[in-house]
Amino acid sequence: MTTRAVEPWILEPLVKFVKEAGARLVLLMTPAGQVLAQHGFSRAVDVMAAAALGAAIMASTDEIARQLGQPPFAGLNHQGERHGIFLAAVPTGRGRLVALIVYDLAASSLGLVQLFFEQLAADLQAASPKDSVPKQVLAADFERELSDSLNTLFGR
């Protein structure tokens, strides 16, 4: 399974997290669904679908929190028969990122994922460039940006 990142500072913390938490699939993206790193995906179409769905879930829970008059939820876990999904935000120097983690219940657990996610968040915070402003993707550039990102994420 390969781990790839569009921005190099993400790679080392992510590789460490995947190894320690036993995560099967990981996406790190902006709240808008722009993918910055991935682990375990073999098809670009799966990355795009997962990113869109993850960002949408995050936006929905943020809105629920807003309507309840409280800060955004720290994380969301959804457990199935064989796999679990953990979705949470990570504050970094590049702004708020969203992590979508799929773990195999036979190889990992929510406790392990939560434990090492805290470390991932701290590592990403420490590694992220502090003085940079997140690049805005304009509609005109969207397709090219997406294509470039997917090429990087799949080593093309």
Binding site: Q79, L105, S108, S109, L110, G111, L112, Q114, L115
Partner: protein, 119 residues
């Protein structure tokens, strides 16, 4: 009528009253989350719970592969302390963190009692 948390507190008391025990926890065996805890300061409960549950799962598989049946009790001795774990029938782990020179037999007995009470 006692609440579940009061009952869990009473169960953990069985373990923590043993001299040399620095803390006890009930941990959900499947997901490694803390159900109840009585820990001295400085012990990272969620970390111990997640890692103990992960270890318990692997030990269970090793024992199954060896054809020796389900594990009942395990004890890890370290330089500065010990970790002792019993699995309850429901899959909940009863975990004790203890001093290195704790009376292991007594802790084991109380862990088994606690596991029986948890069910």
């Amino acid at each position: 009528m006692t609440t579940a948390s009061a009952e869990y507190g009473r169960v953990l008391d069985l373990v923590t009253r043993v001299h040399g025990v620095r803390g006890a926890m009930l941990v959900a065996g499947d997901d490694g989350l803390v159900v109840a805890e009585q820990l001295m300061e400085g012990i990272k409960g969620p970390a111990v719970a997640a890692l103990a549950a992960s270890l318990a799962t692997r030990l269970r598989r090793a024992l199954e592969a060896a054809g020796v049946g389900a594990g009942q009790f395990w004890h890890l001795q370290a330089e500065q302390g010990a970790l002792l774990v019993v699995t309850a029938a429901s899959g909940v782990l009863v975990v004790a963190v203890a001093e290195p020179d704790v009376n292991v037999g007594l802790v084991r007995l109380e862990l088994l009692r606690a596991a029986e009470a948890v069910g």
